[in-house]
Symmetry: D2
Subunit: 360 residues, 4 copies
């Protein structure tokens, strides 16, 4: 019967109910408009930014499903969708741009419909920690996962890989150039891997947690500076014959590390920010290290890139064993224990890097 698909079905969802409050609930399954798809999730990941959201980083939210990193199987598509069909195993970006928007046409799809406007999941619409997920512009935002790539690998492309790699790309590292990556959380680790993939000649990671230091070497760091032992800026100048680095990447989101990036980068170099800056009215640009506004240091910022083409490129790297992101999976939970994964991520206990969520 033609209207069968519109029968209301219920599903389980893990939601935010006001600042600081999370829990499971039941809600109606989403339905696909003409350009949309509905996804049945298989694997997800919890992100630190989900925790920030719960703490009020983007303001109050009621009954909003959390989560933005997911892969799954297509369950339904709208009438205008051509590229995917029910049954396809797919990845969806954490950011799902409107591809005909003004910003997308200018080359900045993640900013479609305003600053950070491509970020919809668990922000302006329900996120992915529910049994069915709505995807806008399915042709533009879904990529089929090749057989050789597992769901667990693939779920890392939806945010961690694409974001960290973009941080490295925006750093404009010359082939054989030097780069410093500040902080080796999951995005910082992927920025390190991205710097390696872009052909950096020397990668300096700044990190104090031993497990993360070790992983950073695994992903390509040539030196690791423990900021608890050494001043990172001094140490970087020491390692680079007092030249500073060609490029630096901020993957923490504090004014202090941002300043250190500017100080550690040589004139004409690039500072690439991927850290989310959650506090303060200002982030400080250190006037002298910035060359009184004349040292030709470029500052770029990144929001997770989305889109089918980007996802396909990430998948190709996985397929040809360019990087193994699953080294970052420290814990695994079934969907009905996603609350525990959140608690773990919040407390940063037990050496957690990324908790994997299994939907079945």
């Amino acid at each position: 019967m033609a209207t069968a698909r519109h029968t209301v079905r219920r599903m389980k969802a893990f939601v935010m109910n006001g600042i600081g409050e999370v829990g499971f609930t039941e809600k109606e399954q989403p339905q696909a408009g003409p350009n949309d798809a509905i996804l049945k999730p298989t694997k997800g990941l919890v992100c630190t930014s989900d925790v920030h959201t719960v703490h009020g980083a983007i303001g109050e939210r009621e009954n909003l499903t959390l989560g933005h990193e997911v892969v799954g199987v297509v369950d339904e598509v709208g009438a205008e969708v051509e590229h995917v069909q029910p049954g396809d195993r797919v990845a969806v970006g954490a950011i799902t741009p409107d591809w005909s928007s003004e910003a997308a046409q200018r080359g900045f799809p993640s900013q479609s419909n305003g600053a950070l406007g491509g970020w919809k999941f668990a922000n302006v619409k329900d996120g992915v920690f529910q049994e069915r997920v709505h995807v806008n512009d399915a042709d533009g935002n879904l990529a089929k996962i090749p057989e050789a790539v597992s769901d667990e690998e693939a779920v890392y492309i939806t945010d961690m890989m694409t974001t960290g790699f973009a941080g490295a790309e925006h750093a404009e590292i010359p082939l054989g150039g030097t780069v410093a990556v500040f902080a080796q959380g999951p995005v910082g680790l992927m920025a390190t891997a991205g710097a390696k993939l872009r052909g950096a000649g020397e990668i300096i990671a700044i990190e104090s947690v031993p497990e993360r230091q070790k992983l950073s070497k695994n992903y390509g760091a040539d030196h690791v500076i423990d900021y608890q032992d050494d001043d990172p800026v001094e140490k970087i100048h020491e390692v680079t014959d007092d030249e500073g680095v060609d490029s630096s990447i901020e993957a923490l989101g504090t004014s202090q590390t941002f300043e250190q990036c500017v100080q550690a980068t040589k004139p004409g170099g690039t500072i690439s920010n991927v850290g989310y800056h959650g506090e303060g009215e200002h982030v400080n640009l250190p006037r002298e290290a910035w060359g009184v506004g004349m040292a030709e240091k470029t500052i770029r910022t990144t929001l997770c890139p989305g889109g089918r083409v980007r996802l396909e490129r990430m998948l190709r790297i996985l397929e040809n064993d360019g990087v193994d992101p699953t080294l970052m999976t420290t814990h695994t939970f079934p969907f009905d224990q996603v609350d525990e994964a959140f608690a773990l991520m919040e407390n940063k206990e037990d050496g957690v890097i990324k908790p994997l969520i299994e939907f079945e």
Copy 2:
């Protein structure tokens, strides 16, 4: 006689003698090493940054000749120089890079030998307000002035045009895009002219001095905002249908205008700084307008570009009447009254924009 050129000759020079002290003195004429040239100046311009220098912006200096904007006639060249010869009418950039330096090879000649290291005149060696001027790497740093271009026109390419235009180029204005230029002093006016030359679709100038407002329209501004009447950021959003501008140019050098640039620029847009930031430990990046480090707004900075090729391009624009910089000449002084020109520039009296210095 082979050694004749090394006979010591004396010349008049206008120097800084400690912070706040200027005056005429006599010193030995400079001599050319194998790659150098000696220039006999004909026309110069006084720059606000000379005034900053006298006030201690770059620290103490003793018996240092001031000035960095000059054109003249080649008086002598070193044995390795091939491109110019005595008698040539030439312009020399305010910035005279070492072209084989590390930074020049990376594409940032103005930063050769350290941040701002291409800036030598009246910084690390005598400036141009003396009867003979030493030019390093003459083949790389001198451009012959075509017959159709006057000395007065040409002297504007040495700093004002090349700097203001670079501010516009670094703003990455799309053809037909929108741009805001904060402050319409001589560099800001040339940034406005540069934005017009790059095909901006709509140029918004921010300025309160009536003469400068008028000149800015002359150089291409479509709107002028008087910041004493309106909040520039609000007004810019009003003019641009609340989108903000594609690009903004900071040509004043205050933390406040820099913040306004970030606020006025749309996600994915570019902020181009050409203002010299002389005060404070930090320049403020407004966290929210910067998109919490994720709105993909790029920040670039500019130091006056130098070099023969750049100067030749500027001269070509003059030759084909692309812009008339002499509209900015508000006063003229003979070289032996350059002290009066400095006093005028310092007090910003009498509607001064640029005082022209005539050497003969």
Copy 3:
């Protein structure tokens, strides 16, 4: 009544009926899918490429409406369309990309769904010389025309301005650099205007038709070379002190002019092709002038850029009097005499540059 919009309405159309055959016919009015709009045209322009199409350049076509340059009023929009509504006065690009396609996501929307795939009008679907025009992805492909811009001006942005300007942008002309533009038909003239808008220091136009020579000066050419009097490559080297130009633009579409572009361009310079190459198995790259494959001359090509943002930028240039394309309108015809406009364009009689079509 809900189905009212699907009542079949008839309209007049000017079609191609096999190679070499054109004529008026009547067909059903198009209908809008969820993302589409229907346009009621007001002004159009005939393009040389329409003539090529009739002669078989893209193969056989039956009952295909001709024309791709048009402005009009929105008559109907699909349910998903947000940016425009019935009654809006709008321009539609000759190229109407699919904005979520693979190529668009890579930054090449005009190549969506295969080479030249954004080109739909009078190629893979009916063109614009009919009483109602179907526009795919209306949000992405329509731009509202500001009050200050007339329909006649606006219709030039749909192909001539956007294409010619893109030819100039892809030529990577340095500010103050030198550029040669081969052929001054309407696209070549707009490439000349585009070079001027990008701040070229010296523009050399190659053209032999007196009216077009004159217009090229009007649009910014500093020199005009008549290839019937002089060898263009020799003359260009003469004008540029034997250096060659920084950039050259091919706006004719012959192997010979393409070769001349390569020969006229200096090492490290850029050749930008906007000409449609309709003949031969190969276009010739002259081996020696190409530096045996090592002179670092870059060759780029352009297909008319489309999209709302691009159109809005073009409109902004018109609004602020950056260029006057209507100087190219040599003739005007009512829609029911569009066949005469075609005949004129085909025979290149009467000094024709662009024939304007008026729909009412």
Copy 4:
């Protein structure tokens, strides 16, 4: 005694004496001008282009020393040289630009003083197969070799690595993108390694010689196409789901492979040429695959990049084990048997890839 350095000293040199004639001779040692250095070579490599030169590719040469790939120890420096001193172990690029030249200031140092003008060794001055080597602009063109890098490794940066890598950089391979590399001679192999270093997601090498096929996999190729078994263009379309590759690299220098590059590359993609095209009046651009001049495929070409900074970046990659070029050393000869190395290179016998020359 001050003039001691000008005592004439004799040295052994391996020279070209007219087309097709080579042999050892004795000539005067070169002397250093104020900006120059004299190098005592330790290791060199024979290049196929040396063989081309002997066969007349650049015309007649008399008593011209051959060779352009060398490392050694600084023997003498001119008075203006600051960066290196006698005793330093250094690499010199095959290309030694004039850094203050017009082309270098434009960003194309290898084209200084005309097309391919940075190429001096064994072209416009004596090459490196002699006991002392003259290096112009020593500060700009010499890089000190770090202790961890052997002479044999380092000599590969002077041409093979820097050229092959530049071919990959100019191919503008997106991170995770697809690339085809045509021919796996030493430059092609280094282009493959360069593509891997830039983060290509899938590398397709075209080669028929088994040893080279094997090495190409070693350097990062994911697929190898033997053009004797398959049509490379068809095979590439098969491997890429009929999309074509993002980028292709021509590393052979024939019109046929160049055409295949254009055919194998998707609309909007880039063709990067590093092959030396030695024959024919034209290289063919296939008109249809080139999209009749409108498919937005960019064509770039490369001449070996030189300069201290570039060499230092290459050395950094060696130092951090980014690539092992010595896998390409198939034979070793003492300097006084360099004639045998030439004969081997000419006949392409014995699986030769690169013959290493030892000077002591």
